[in-house]
Amino acid sequence: MSTIYILWLRELKRYSRSRVQMIASLGQPVLYLLALGFGFGPVFARAGNGSYLQFMAPGVVGMSILFMCVFSGISILWDRQFGFLKETLVAPVPRMQIMLGRTLGSATVATFQGILVFIICLAAGLRPHNWMLALPQAFVFMAMVAITFAALGTAFGSVIKDMQGFPIVMNFMVMPMFFLSGALYPLSHLPSVLTVITRLDPLTYGIDGLRGSLTGVWHFSFALDVAVMAFIAAAFLSLGAYFFSKIQI
């Protein structure tokens, strides 16, 4: 337990000590929110779909969590480069605990980041349909998305050995996962190929959960989203733990 705790704490310290990074990582969601949210607003409204900002804000919250998780996972690479990773890998504790501490730390930080972005969305005009219900439900989904993708980030960080691998992960895994998740457009009436792909994307269920919680409009349902996310979280945690246990220096 203390192993998990001390590594969890390390992630939190790292986050809270670098204000610059905290602010920098808010830049992207804000840009999406302003440029796309207000930019596509008129078209979206004319198509009879209501407020685009309302629609895409949950997607932006999900995005910020996803990216934060992947960046945290990639910090394994920095720890490898600066040598600290060795120190944890030779310690007489199960690597599983080290992986869990790191991953839960990333997830906590990412959830916090998601909450910050959520607050920014509120300032930009997002209005939850029912505060009492929306907040706890949205929090559940934020945490689930965070844990799922923090675990995936750990898996990536364990497998790739140097920074050159990072763009591959970003361009071929993370960006597609974001763009194919329905974060930016509705999932109904898509071409059938895209429908299949979006349903295979784990982020889809997290975004739908967030959107459903906050705006009351679900593509799937609360139960389905929770079930799928829980399953994927478990799968990715196992995957992350497996790859982490195989790291060689």
């Binding site: 192993t3 310290k13 040598g83 600290f84 060795k86 030779v90 310690a91």
Partner: protein
């Protein structure tokens, strides 16, 4: 305590360790010497579960470190050749983290951290971030950290690299004391022959991944007809400088690996 037989490690088509065998008894201080690139660090990495051997067997206190990783890790402590500190945390936090990972009870931990940081003259700087430390201070912190728990086997990979004479002296005095009072087995590498001569009970010399001689300092000197360990070392390993061309080849290999993936 440490038993190695026919240990081999290859990286791609390069063989870094080619069939090394040796035995280290409990309570022995064993120096593992060799020119740059001889395969010392690679051997230590295999002994400490960081690398999987290509072939050969290892026993640490009767355990195979690849089969019983956690049990093996409980038996050793290590000071790495390369940096392994967390730069974004303070000196004290680094020590604390290590203490937690190695299950040093809280009270003992606080006490030992204070003693060790004082011993290596870092106590005043305990709340500074490691990234603000000089190279030698970082090195001292790594060593202080290595002594925080008391393992059965201590691996020291060029521990004195970049240290001033005072700190070196502290280090070896401490190592000898641990060896005498706790019967700690010590496996060390260094490029300073006088240090090996001073502390090691037995010395092995490796070159190009092969073990070419082992024995006490006196035995090695006698075998080579030299009057110092340094002389014996040079006689055994020749006096040409080892080209580290491997590093550029490494880079090429890494790029190649990227493309293959």
């Amino acid at each position: 305590m440490i038993r190695v037989e026919n240990l081999v490690k290859t990286f791609g088509d390069f063989t870094a360790v080619r069939g090394i065998s040796f035995d280290v008894q409990q309570g022995e201080i064993f120096a593992f010497l060799g020119p740059n690139g001889a395969g010392k660090t690679t051997t230590i990495k295999m002994l400490t579960t960081l690398l999987k051997p290509t072939s050969g067997t290892i026993e640490l206190d009767g355990l195979d470190p690849m089969q019983k990783q956690k049990e093996a890790r409980q038996r050793f402590g290590i000071v790495f050749q390369d940096p392994s500190l967390d730069n974004e945390q303070t000196a004290y936090e680094n020590m604390e983290l290590h203490g937690v990972l190695y299950h040093v009870p809280r009270k003992v931990r606080a006490e030992r951290i204070e003693n060790l940081l004082k011993l290596f003259e870092l106590w005043e700087r305990r709340d500074d971030y490691v990234k603000q430390f000089s190279g030698g201070m970082k090195r001292r912190l790594e060593i202080a950290r290595g002594f925080l728990h008391t393992p059965k086997i201590l691996f020291l990979d060029e521990p004195t690299l970049g240290l001033d004479p005072q700190s070196r002296n502290q280090l070896w005095t401490h190592v000898k004391r641990l060896n005498e009072t706790e019967n700690t087995t010590v496996f060390l590498t260094t490029h300073y022959m006088d240090e090996a001569d001073r502390v090691a009970h037995r010395i092995a010399i490796v070159d190009h991944g092969q073990l070419i001689a082992q024995g006490t300092s006196a035995e090695l000197q006698e075998r080579t007809n030299s009057d110092s360990l340094e002389g014996a070392f040079l006689a055994l390993t020749g006096d040409s400088i080892r080209d580290e061309s491997a590093s550029s080849a490494d880079n090429m290999r890494q790029v190649a690996r990227m493309w293959r993936r």
